[in-house]
């Protein structure tokens, strides 16, 4: 009874529909598949990032949501409504373009008011709304300037104000910080997060910068070659990647190639070529005796200066390079088989003889088995 009531409430209340739903969306340009069967729900009020290298389909996804391109097949829904027949100028979304696309012949205020003007909002009302929004992005006093008279960061904020003043259901951001220098980027990242919390609008943020995505997002969707590989919180994506590509694109990883010997309870043992047996978490269904890659993040590696022979699941080598980056030190360890392995340690956290960090010193590397991940070797995604 209670359950049935709740179901009725849910179906009658449109507010429970996700902000964005992609249903098996596909986009083909001539021969090439830009987007391959992508299904995705983005919740209301979420800061969602689409992350991937250039050409992975993240911008195409954004264009499908914005209505600048139509899907070859599949459907795009915004707050439960299919957008198949809705042109961009009737969609409840607004976009911050990579190039900002401010109208050069209009003042800052006219730019910000444009959307409201198109909706037929009265002049006094839209002026009030625009100046309120400009205050929010700290551009009060710049109303009369032309875009050409602003700095990159200021233009960026005008573009944000111009989109947000319309109170869209969803704000799309296409690499909006790409043209800014590093310091300004960091500053704008914080400002964007603050704005998003403040206005409570769903943000869909496209970027190829994994740090940016990790720092800002509630959830991240990682894309490559037109496919959506994994969707999850930043820590899920980082700690439990489902694809080799995800693990290597976000952060660094050492990889060991070999054959899966056996697996039980999600832990696999791999016969690594020229090294011996190493253990890690298996991802998905992998047949035993097939080729696999075992990946370990450099900061998960334990580095021990020790004269004892390596035990089970440990590997041995000699330090070939040390670079100290302040609080963290990067060690490159050359294994006896010739492979280089990266290992990051906090300064002073290496166990054993602390006075012997120099190159040429023999070390033993190890990791907890749940911190290594095993992927099929043919996983090219």
């Amino acid at each position: 009874m209670n359950e049935a009531l709740r179901a009725i409430a849910r179906s009658s209340d449109a507010a429970t529909d996700p902000a964005i739903e992609l249903r098996r969306a596909r986009k083909v340009f001539g021969e090439s598949v830009a987007l391959d069967d992508v299904s995705l729900d983005i919740e209301r009020g979420e800061f969602f990032s689409l992350l991937g290298p250039s050409g992975c389909g993240k911008s195409t996804t954004l264009n499908l949501i914005g209505g600048f391109e139509a899907p070859s097949s599949g459907d795009v829904r915004i707050e439960g409504r299919s957008m198949a027949a809705t042109p961009p100028y009737e969609r409840p979304v607004n976009t911050v373009f990579q190039s900002y696309a401010l109208f050069p012949h209009m003042s800052v205020a006219e730019n910000v008011e444009f959307g409201l003007r198109m909706k037929g909002v009265a002049r006094a009302e839209r002026q009030a709304a625009a100046s309120e929004m400009l205050r929010m992005v700290s551009l009060t006093g710049y109303e009369a300037r032309r875009p050409a008279q602003l700095s990159g960061g200021q233009r960026q904020r005008v573009a944000l104000a111009r989109a947000l003043v319309n109170h869209p259901s969803v704000l799309l951001l296409d690499e909006p910080l790409g043209a800014l220098d590093l310091k300004l980027r960091k500053q704008m990242q914080i400002e964007l997060m603050r704005l998003q919390r403040q206005v409570g609008i769903t943000f869909v943020y496209v970027t190829h910068d994994q740090e940016e995505a990790m720092a800002m997002s509630d959830r991240i969707g990682v894309m490559n070659r037109g496919r959506l590989l994994q969707v999850g919180t930043p820590s899920e994506i980082y700690d439990r990647p489902t694809h080799r590509f995800v693990m290597e694109f976000i952060g660094a990883a050492n990889s060991f190639e070999g054959r899966l010997d056996r697996q039980s309870n999600g832990i696999g043992t791999v016969d690594v070529d020229g090294i011996g047996q190493l253990r890690g978490v298996t991802t998905g269904n992998i047949e035993e005796r097939t080729r696999v890659s075992l990946l370990v993040r450099p900061e998960k590696m334990r580095l021990v200066f020790d004269s004892r022979p390596p035990g089970n699941g440990e590997i041995e080598g000699a330090i070939s390079h040390v670079s100290r980056l302040g609080f963290v030190t990067h060690y490159t360890v050359r294994l006896d088989g010739g492979q280089d392995v990266l290992c990051y340690r906090l300064a002073g956290s290496v166990e054993g003889d602390a006075g012997a960090l120099e190159e040429g010193r023999r070390v033993v590397l190890s990791w907890k088995e749940e911190e290594a991940r095993i992927f099929p070797a043919d996983d090219e995604s």
Partner: protein, 273 residues
């Protein structure tokens, strides 16, 4: 003489020679015009040296010359309609020529610009034959048609250049902000390409005002200012022509300044974009 001395000498020569060439070049361009204006104030029936004294007589004569007034009115009438038609059609034509991709696009771009290099003499003859073939009586309308034919390529070219540099993301942004295609055109596209359209209009107006050959072939009863000057010259050089030419020169100069001011004002906005 050492090589160093030689290069220094050569450099000094260059320093003198280059400005000299410049001065000569400008002299070549402007001395005829200078004398034209000068003799419009010369107190003698034959406009030649020596300068006999300053007079405004020829300008006064112009103001009584009702045939000239008629011709000037005709020229302005023709130039006005030519500008309106040619600039409008040229702007419309520029959009597909720049933006659409279709079969034979390259060929059509060439064909559209071809009238620019067809000699006006040929075009005048061709138009005359055509008009008599289809039975259109010669009038100011046939002159306007003739002028549209030869000025439209210029209009297309000027507007196309502007359209080429147009950032189409701006149209996406307008659509994103709720502007349908019609409003996007009037609020975004048209204002941004307006300097190009204005430039095209100025050029077309100037071309139409001083066109002679085509006009000569396709005009009916009513002549233009260029034809009037031609008729004056047939009876020898009259200082009235100098006065008229000086007035027209002043008008062109003002037009040029306006055009320059318009384009510098808009490009100042753009370069800082």
């Amino acid at each position: 003489m050492s090589a160093a001395v030689l290069t220094r000498a050569r450099r000094r020569l260059g320093r003198l020679l280059i400005p000299l060439c410049g001065v000569l070049g400008f002299a070549f361009l402007y001395i005829p015009i200078f004398f034209l204006v000068l003799f419009s104030f010369n107190d003698h029936i034959i406009p030649s040296l020596p300068f006999r004294g300053f007079t405004l007589q020829w300008y006064r004569e112009l103001s009584y010359d009702f045939v000239m007034h008629d011709a000037l009115y005709n020229s302005l009438f023709i130039a006005f309609w030519t500008t309106l038609i040619s600039t409008t059609l040229g702007t419309l034509a520029a959009f597909p020529l720049v933006r659409r991709s279709y079969r034979l696009k390259g060929a059509s771009q060439l064909l559209v610009l071809l009238p620019m290099i067809i000699p006006h003499f040929l075009m005048g003859v061709a138009l005359l034959i055509f008009f008599s073939f289809v039975g259109v009586p010669l009038s100011r309308m046939t002159i306007i048609l003739g002028h549209v034919v030869f000025t439209m390529p210029f209009a297309i070219m000027v507007v196309s250049t502007r359209l080429h540099g147009f950032d189409r993301t701006l149209e996406l942004a307008a659509a994103d902000l709720g502007a349908n295609p019609r409003r996007t055109f009037f609020h975004i596209v048209l204002p941004i390409i307006m300097p190009g359209i204005a430039g095209a209009a100025l050029l077309v107006f100037a071309l139409s005002m001083d066109e002679f050959l085509i006009t000569y072939f396709v005009s009916g009863q009513k002549g233009t200012i260029t034809m009037y000057i031609w008729s004056l010259l047939k009876d020898g050089i009259a200082p009235r022509v100098n006065a008229l030419a000086s007035v027209l020169l002043l008008a062109s100069f003002v037009l040029l300044l306006i055009g320059n001011w318009l384009s510098s004002r808009t490009s100042a906005v753009e370069t800082r974009r």
